[in-house]
């Protein structure tokens, strides 16, 4: 019966909201400074942020990439 469904749905929503309302939160200032310190700690090892020399980045190398023992997948 649609009325019972509505009640069941409404109950679920209330239960869900109770869970969400009950979680512990921290201040935005604290959360922000933690996001920032994560960035700062890892900035130096972020290749897209600081850039890496062409010799270390396989994508920046203009010469066709070759590995030792590379197997050609085309039939001989």
């Amino acid at each position: 019966m649609s009325a019972t469904n509505n009640v069941a749905q409404a109950r679920k929503l209330v239960e869900q909201l109770r869970i969400e309302a009950g979680i512990e939160r921290i201040k935005v200032s604290k959360a922000s400074s933690e996001l920032m310190s994560y960035c700062e700690q890892h900035a130096r090892s972020d290749p897209l942020l600081v850039g890496v020399p062409a010799s270390e980045n396989p994508f920046k190398d203009k010469k066709p990439w070759r590995a030792e023992g590379a197997v050609s997948l085309r039939s001989p």
């Binding site: 509505n6 200032s29 090892s45 897209l48």
Partner: protein
């Protein structure tokens, strides 16, 4: 409507208690029944009771929503970009297309990197799924799915298999083999079954479990070996379009985004939604965790990307510009979390300074919508896929 008349004395068997009584017409779901006066009265008060309960529940829900907003607002003491004023500004970026992967016959819809930081799997509207070596641009594997619009694909952590799916409503796993005599399609295994299209899939930390999101409004966790449903996640009010697993250190949660404009964070073990965010004004096309796992970003058809902090339980930044009016289809963070790369339906990729909230760079190159974007596992490059049939690797 005053044509209900109780003056007509119909005498007969009550439709509810079947006793022989004087009957009066009652309407249930616009169907007319004949009840005796006792049953009619019971029905009337039942209805009243139910609607009272419903009203009470609805007002409690509204009250709780209000309380949630209040609690969140209390902790909103400052904006992220204000705290970030003391951070050094970003330098100039030189990011170019370093590789173009051509071979798909139609729109590229999804892509994923292998953990070897080199191989890429991509899927397309024409039903083809291709595995590429992004260093050489060679195609290593190709399989044709039995359906078109393969909207989701993922690389297994071991690099030995891929998963994909779309309009077939399933997620299938294909083991990757270098044996030229083996037909990849023959070893296909169907893992997930949804009742609508598959929009996203991701292996968990092992090759043994897959998490899926679907147009049927649910997400689900599956065991690859047996195809068994391990957990399902209900709560979205419309199609779920994207999902992302939390970085392994932060535990068993994942975030999903949907057409109901909501981003929801789920506990994988209990199936419970633990947090929900509803600030976007349109479909959320992409969600991605911040590398520390304490926040996640979203990209939406409302032309904005947003950052939500999980511990503050609120949105802490919006990445938007008046000149950006097309939806963001796909987002990903650089390794440190300082940069957010976002692909848009206006064919561009915008690079955002996550902390300061400003755009750092805009990248042109694709000739149609950017539909998918992922940073490589070691952060040296990122790959974008587009409706222009190509993928581009940028560094």
């Amino acid at each position: 409507m005053c044509d209900q008349t109780f003056l007509v004395n119909v005498f007969g068997s009550c439709d509810k208690c079947f006793k022989q009584r004087a009957l009066r017409p009652v309407f249930k779901k616009s169907q007319q029944l004949n009840y005796c006066s006792i049953c009619a009265e019971i029905m009337a008060t039942d209805g009243l009771h139910e609607s009272e309960t419903l009203a009470a529940l609805r007002s409690e829900a509204e009250g709780l929503k209000g309380k949630l907003e209040e609690e969140r607002a209390k902790l909103h003491d400052v904006e992220l970009h204000q705290v970030a004023e003391r951070v050094e500004a970003l330098g100039q970026f030189v990011m170019k297309t370093r590789r173009t992967l051509k071979g798909h016959g139609n729109k590229v819809l999804c892509m994923d990197w292998c953990r070897d930081k080199r191989r890429i799997v991509s899927s397309s509207q024409d039903g083809k799924v291709i595995v590429w070596d992004s260093f050489t641009t060679n195609k290593e594997h190709a399989v044709t799915m039995p359906c078109t619009w393969v909207m989701a694909c993922a690389y297994a952590p071991s690099g030995c298999a891929i998963a994909c799916g779309g309009l077939d409503n399933k997620c299938s796993v294909y083991p990757l083999t270098f044996d030229k005599n083996e037909n990849m399609a023959a070893k296909k295994r169907s893992v997930a079954m949804h009742t609508n299209y598959l929009s996203a899939c991701s292996f968990t930390n092992s090759d043994m479990q897959i998490l899926t999101a679907s147009g049927d409004g649910t997400c689900a966790l599956w065991d690859v070996e047996s195809g068994q449903l391990l957990q399902s996640f209900h709560g979205h009010g419309a199609d779920v379009l994207c999902l992302d697993l939390a970085p392994s250190e932060t535990g068993n949660t994942f975030v999903s985004g949907g057409c109901d404009k909501k981003a929801m964070v789920w506990d994988m073990r209990s199936g419970q939604c633990v947090q929900a965010f509803e600030t976007h004004e349109s479909d959320i096309n992409s969600v991605r965790y911040y590398p520390s796992g304490d926040a996640f970003a979203s990209g939406s058809d409302d032309a904005t990307c947003r950052l939500y902090d999980l511990r503050a339980d609120r949105e802490v930044a919006i990445y938007s510009k008046e000149s950006i009016i097309f939806g963001a289809s796909s987002v990903d963070f650089s390794l440190s979390g300082r940069l957010l790369f976002a692909g848009y339906n206006d064919y561009t990729i915008n690079v955002w300074d996550v902390l300061k909230g400003a755009r750092a760079s805009i990248l042109f190159g694709h000739e149609n919508r950017v539909s998918t974007l992922r940073v490589s596992p070691d952060g040296t490059a990122f790959c974008s896929g587009s409706w222009d049939h190509t993928l581009r690797v940028w560094a």
